[in-house]
């Protein structure tokens, strides 16, 4: 079995104006949860739409479960779940009717899971879909995407409009989905703590390309904030390779990508000063890495 559920190679795509995606490249393995980050307008939604087979890249190649999503037949399409950013649920009256309609479309529909989740999320079957709150509509769309137990689940800002309790439930559910090690989830979000909680890999989209595509653990261990102090003479004008340097009198604070646990001490020895090594949260990392871009 192919270990990569998603393979995106050098795709470009625009909407007439300047290209939104400019050589996007990444892979998502089976059993993985990939957190897809980027500022507003960075192209996350466009990337997810190409993976869902809703739009076609102008160049490059997209493979989902080994095939091109643009040419997927009904059977292949059923193995990929997708919840768009602006999910509009069909106005089919009550929740029960919509659920029944969807269940008929999918031979693999898990009725027990679906009923259990609706119950857990407190979405009454008798409610009219149009009367549900935005958060509940979002959860309903998520349940409908999850019930067929898709091999790949694509979620565009799934946590928007969810309260913290519902969000935690939602995260537990995507963990539950991938627990057999065969399924994959790709989700875009602005809520970085959600990514920190469940994702094993993270991509940061900036100016149509990924500026980060690596394991979240590696990212946190390699990009650090170092404070250099106790210089003998005046502090150096710059720190080679630093993503950002702040300075005040006789100290420097630099964000650096390090190549090992001994790197801070080595740099400090070279600069003739002392060093304090501080980890960065994903939020701080995100800001440092995307500060000057879209």
């Amino acid at each position: 079995m192919n270990t990569e559920a998603i393979i995106v190679e050098n795709i470009t795509r625009g909407y007439g104006g300047p290209p939104v995606l400019q050589g996007l490249d990444f892979r998502v393995s089976r059993g993985s949860i990939y957190g897809f980050l980027g500022r507003n307008g960075s192209g996350k939604t466009t990337a997810l739409k190409t993976l869902a087979g809703l739009i076609r890249p102008e160049s490059g190649s997209v493979r989902v479960l080994g095939g091109d999503p643009w040419t997927f037949g009904a059977g292949e399409r059923q193995r990929v779940g997708y919840v768009s950013e602006k999910q509009s649920l069909p106005p089919l009256g009550r929740v029960a009717k919509l659920v029944k309609f969807c269940a008929q479309l999918y031979p693999a529909w898990d009725h027990e899971l679906c009923d259990g989740l609706l119950n857990r999320f407190q979405i009454p079957l008798k409610s009219r879909v149009a009367k549900l709150s935005l958060g509940q509509q979002r959860l309903l769309a998520f349940v409908l995407a999850l019930a067929p137990r898709p091999d790949v689940l694509l979620l565009d800002e799934p946590a928007a409009n969810l309260d913290v309790v519902a969000r935690r439930e939602f995260l537990d559910q995507i963990l539950e989905l991938i627990r057999d090690g065969k399924k994959s989830v790709l989700f875009s979000t602005h809520i970085l703590s959600d990514v920190e909680r469940v994702a094993d890999r993270v991509g940061i989209l900036s100016d149509g390309k990924l500026v980060v595509d690596e394991s979240l653990d590696d990212l946190k261990e390699s990009v650090r904030q170092l404070r250099f102090f106790g210089f003998q003479g005046p502090p150096p004008a710059e720190i080679p390779g630093a993503l950002r340097v702040r300075r005040d009198k006789n100290e420097l604070m630099a964000v650096l990508r390090l190549n090992g646990p001994d790197a801070p001490a080595q740099i400090a020895a070279r600069l003739g000063c002392q060093v304090e090594d501080n980890p960065l949260s994903l939020e701080d990392l995100f800001i440092e890495l995307t500060r000057n871009s879209r």
Binding site: G31, S32, I33, R168, L171, D172, L175, E176, I178, R179, G181, L192, S193, E196, R197, V198, A199, D200, L216, D217, K220, E221, F229, G230, Q274, V275, E276, N278, P279, L280, S281, L282, E283, D284
Partner: protein
């Protein structure tokens, strides 16, 4: 096993879980030969990615603290105590570095720091501060 997680700290989740399981083994709360939860169970209990849970066990195994028995699961290593001197040092290393860095920063001399450490060690051990 109950795990306290702080996903938004800069410390990777696998390190947080690793440290908490390691403490339980070194501190004797998990006894030698005791079975640990499976990767799936740990992932469900701690609310973490299964790949992260698997990584925790890989590290514990490399440190000699646990052993995987084919088809049975993961267990606290029989000789965890014996093998753990290096692990104990690895465990305390970050706190030690932090302490020494602060001492240097505050201009505390090496001899003074050693005396302070010795005095604190005695005071905690004799239960004064507990």
């Amino acid at each position: 096993m109950l795990i306290a997680l702080h996903p938004s700290s800069g410390v990777p989740v696998y390190r947080q879980v690793l440290q908490q399981v390691r403490e339980r083994i070194l501190g004797g709360q998990l006894k030698r030969g005791e079975q640990l939860p499976s990767v799936r169970e740990l992932s469900a209990m701690a609310g973490i990615n299964p790949l992260t849970a698997a990584k925790v066990y890989q590290f514990l195994e490399a440190e000699g603290l646990v052993e995987t028995r084919r088809g049975q699961g993961t267990f606290v290593a029989g000789d965890a105590k014996k093998l753990s001197a290096a692990s104990r040092r690895a465990e305390i290393e970050p706190a030690l570095r932090q302490l020494v860095a602060e001492a240097i920063h505050l201009g505390i001399e090496r001899g003074d720091l050693q005396r302070l450490v010795a005095a604190t060690f005695e005071s905690i051990k004799s239960g004064e501060n507990l």
